[in-house]
Symmetry: C2
Subunit: 202 residues, 2 copies
């Protein structure tokens, strides 16, 4: 945090916005986006509906703010993967997610709802896959060029599988606490680091 702290009404307004976003994360993570309401969010914060709507005039404007929380945290993925390798970079994010369980839950619930073509976050969900998969595929290809990844499978397919597996493993963690870091480590190694095929091999 190198920014000077904001003062006065602006700081108050920014704090209020953050508070509303945090409450919406919990409400959407419990009731889904469709089942949640601005009224519930206002009630949870002991604010009037009018105050909440001053900051977020519509539920969908609040959804956009809620969903942009994660993206902000992952903007430097490509740089980190080039430096540290794809596998360690993914594992670092899985570990960091251990400390933001309700955010992960909200994404899991909203994402499941948003698979519907007429859901308010459907375009967001598809854009997210369309952005992340080429980014991951490029990082996997780069690691392959350095010998840090030995799998010969198409990089876009590997990226698909990493994303899919990651989401499923996080659902399990949310449900019963199964360690997602251990699971992801085994899965990433199996997918990306197969043993070299022996001369007598397949």
């Amino acid at each position: 945090m190198t920014e000077a702290p904001a003062r006065g009404p602006y700081a108050k307004s920014a704090a209020r916005r953050s508070e509303i976003i945090a409450s919406a994360t919990a409400v959407f993570g419990t009731h889904g986006y469709r089942g949640g309401s601005l009224r519930q969010i206002a009630k949870q914060l002991d604010l009037s509906l009018t105050t909440v709507m001053h900051h977020f005039p519509t539920k969908v404007s609040l959804l956009a703010a809620v969903l942009s929380q994660e993206d902000a945290a992952d903007t430097d993925f490509s740089e980190r993967a080039a430096r540290d390798g794809f596998i360690p970079t993914v594992l670092t994010i899985v570990e960091r997610n251990l400390g933001r369980r309700e955010l992960v839950r909200m994404f899991t619930v909203v994402q499941a709802e948003a698979t519907h073509a007429d859901h308010e976050a459907h375009a967001w969900l598809r854009a997210r896959y369309a952005d992340v998969i080429p980014e991951y595929a490029a990082a996997i290809d780069y690691d392959r060029s350095l010998g840090r990844v030995t799998a010969t499978t198409d990089a876009a397919m590997l990226a698909d599988l990493v994303i899919g597996m990651w989401e499923g493993i996080q659902v399990r963690w949310l449900a019963d606490g199964t360690d997602p870091v251990a699971a992801m480590r085994v899965a990433l190694d199996a997918l990306l680091l197969p043993a070299p095929v022996s001369a007598a091999g397949r």
Copy 2:
């Protein structure tokens, strides 16, 4: 179908129940269990709320009926895996799921909500993992004893990963149509059939 068809009022009642379960599957798959209501389900079928409640007095009794649909379809997993092998048996279910998209979506949405400890389906979700994982692990171990699986990783971990990966891959399919059969085939091979380590290997 070897049973004689039921007749008269019982048959009518059974048909009505199936109709309500199908409507609830669509409503819970769209709005979640928490966001869905008996009223919406009644409206979709053009029935009175009283008629729906005659068959399912509470929303949670309907949830139980909705969730038991999948289990019924997978009761012979172990027998089929012992006969045909674990990988082909899983792939057959993934393929069959292509034809029951709204059922898969309902499970995905309800499962995400049900990760919450206080959700009505939380116990169901945990029991499902507790049942399926040992069953899959046993099938993997059996295949290993026959040489049909060559991975040396702990079978319970492999079962965890297969389940996690499968769920994530299905979310992706629901979102943008990415072929889940192709993805599962690559993922299952990578996890369960690693190349033999060469003499000069790791």
